[in-house]
């Protein structure tokens, strides 16, 4: 099933930060991880990913460093910072509250 853009809006940053929080990753690796974990339901558009990564880096939620991978090519890895972890935690709480509320409404509960 394809997920509409409207539903994805605002969650991309959360997804990206959450994936990076599990280990340092580079751009392509992030897209592939998200794709694999969501059974291709969430496909991160690269054009969306990089501006998000750069703005997170600018805001201090991520830092980056260059490192050579197996193929010998140097890649830019992103690492979550303490501020990023705090940001992620706050937004995860907000997200779980939001989904529980929406589920409640959709289920017709009071």
């Amino acid at each position: 099933m394809k997920i509409s853009k409207e539903l994805l809006k605002g969650t991309t940053g959360l997804v990206v930060l959450s994936v990076i929080s599990e280990g340092d990753m580079y751009g392509y690796q992030i897209t592939q991880t998200v794709k694999a974990r969501s059974d291709s339901a969430l496909v991160l558009n690269e054009g969306t990913l990089y501006p998000i990564l750069h703005s997170f880096e600018k805001n201090g939620y991520l830092t980056s460093y260059k490192d050579g991978a197996e193929g010998g090519r140097e890649r830019k890895y992103y690492k979550i910072t303490a501020a990023g972890k705090l940001f992620l935690q706050t937004h995860l709480e907000e997200w779980s509250y939001f989904t529980s509320v929406v589920n409640k409404v959709l289920a017709g509960e009071n």
């Binding site: 969306t48 501006p51 750069h54």
Partner: protein
């Protein structure tokens, strides 16, 4: 290599240069270019492992990447520290002030003894030219805004209804234009008005998704055209296919003021005066021509005249 052969590396370079072209800092631009180039190489490599040719893999990777013109603006926004408008305005102001100071002392030294008034005859028009009549522009904008509000109030009075102004027409001139320019209440209904003024009918106005994307001034001679930034010429960001987009895209998205988010009865009006002859709304691959009375992002598009007419007609 054969001249007609598709050179993937060259195409990647071209693509990357385009996409990262809006980033002002050379260092950041190069870092972003390297990163995106690496990304392309990875994507192409994994596709070629599945038996795809490099050329086809590149084309597919481009499609997966997303709209390059949009990405270019997004990258510029996320990497450029200063707002270009702020930066340019500061530099320009300092340069003008310094120049005015130098000219004043030079002219005073030369002709002050001959005629004291002569200095002011030369100096005041000179300063006006130097500062680009900016205060006059604001004054003109304020007058037109007040005139429009007065018209609305008069109309409401004629129909024994009351209009209450919720926003300050003067202060809103200096605010970023991401909120409505005029907010008013009439008969319990909240009316948010977004004003867009374009002096020439030959300008082409393009909306993309939820943003005023670009304004193009059509050249009078044939198919050539001059691209202009909707707000300020100097802050433009070049895009590969779609002319120039503003680097302050967010400033042009149309949202309601925070204090009104809870209001339920809101009527949103976008007054485009005058509506350019070619106003288009691009969503995905579809291009729609926008005319007066159409709805864009929940705002009904009107000219001043047609908006006043609708009010007249309703009451």
């Amino acid at each position: 290599m054969d001249g007609n052969e598709f050179d993937v590396s060259r195409e990647i370079d071209y693509f990357v240069r385009n996409v990262c072209g809006g980033i002002r800092s050379k260092q950041k631009r190069e870092a972003a270019s390297d990163e995106i180039r690496e990304h392309f190489e990875d994507a192409i490599y994994s596709k070629t492992l599945r038996g795809m040719s490099r050329e086809k893999a590149f084309r597919e990777a481009c499609v997966e990447f997303g709209d390059p013109s949009k990405v270019k603006v997004m990258l510029a926004l996320s990497n450029n520290t200063f707002s270009p408008e702020f930066f340019n305005e500061c530099i320009l102001f300092l340069a003008r002030a310094f120049f005015a100071y130098i000219v004043y002392y030079w002219v005073r030294g030369l002709v002050f003894l001959a005629s004291a008034d002569f200095v002011w005859y030369c100096y005041i028009p000179g300063i006006l030219v130097l500062f680009g009549f900016q205060p006059f522009r604001y004054f003109y904008l304020l007058c037109s805004r007040l005139k429009f509000i007065a018209k609305l109030k008069k109309l409401a009075k004629e129909q024994s209804s009351k209009i209450e102004l919720l926003s300050d027409p003067f202060l809103s001139l200096f605010k970023s234009s991401d909120i409505c320019d005029i907010v008013m209440k009439a008969n319990g209904e909240c009316i948010c008005i977004k004003l867009l003024a374009f002096p020439k009918r030959t300008q082409s106005l393009r909306f993309l998704d939820e943003t005023l994307y670009s304004v193009t001034t059509l050249h009078s001679a044939g198919t050539r055209f001059v691209n202009r930034n909707p707000h300020m010429m100097m802050n433009r960001v070049a895009t590969p296919n779609l002319g120039f987009a503003t680097s302050k895209l967010r400033a042009y998205s149309f949202c309601l003021p925070l204090e009104l988010e809870e209001e339920s009865n809101i009527r949103k009006i976008m007054i485009v005066d005058r509506l350019p002859s070619e106003t288009t709304y691009v969503k995905g691959n579809a291009i729609e021509y926008v005319d007066l009375g159409a709805t864009l992002f929940g705002f009904s598009v009107h000219s001043v005249k047609s908006f006043l007419k609708t009010i007249k007609g309703e009451n």
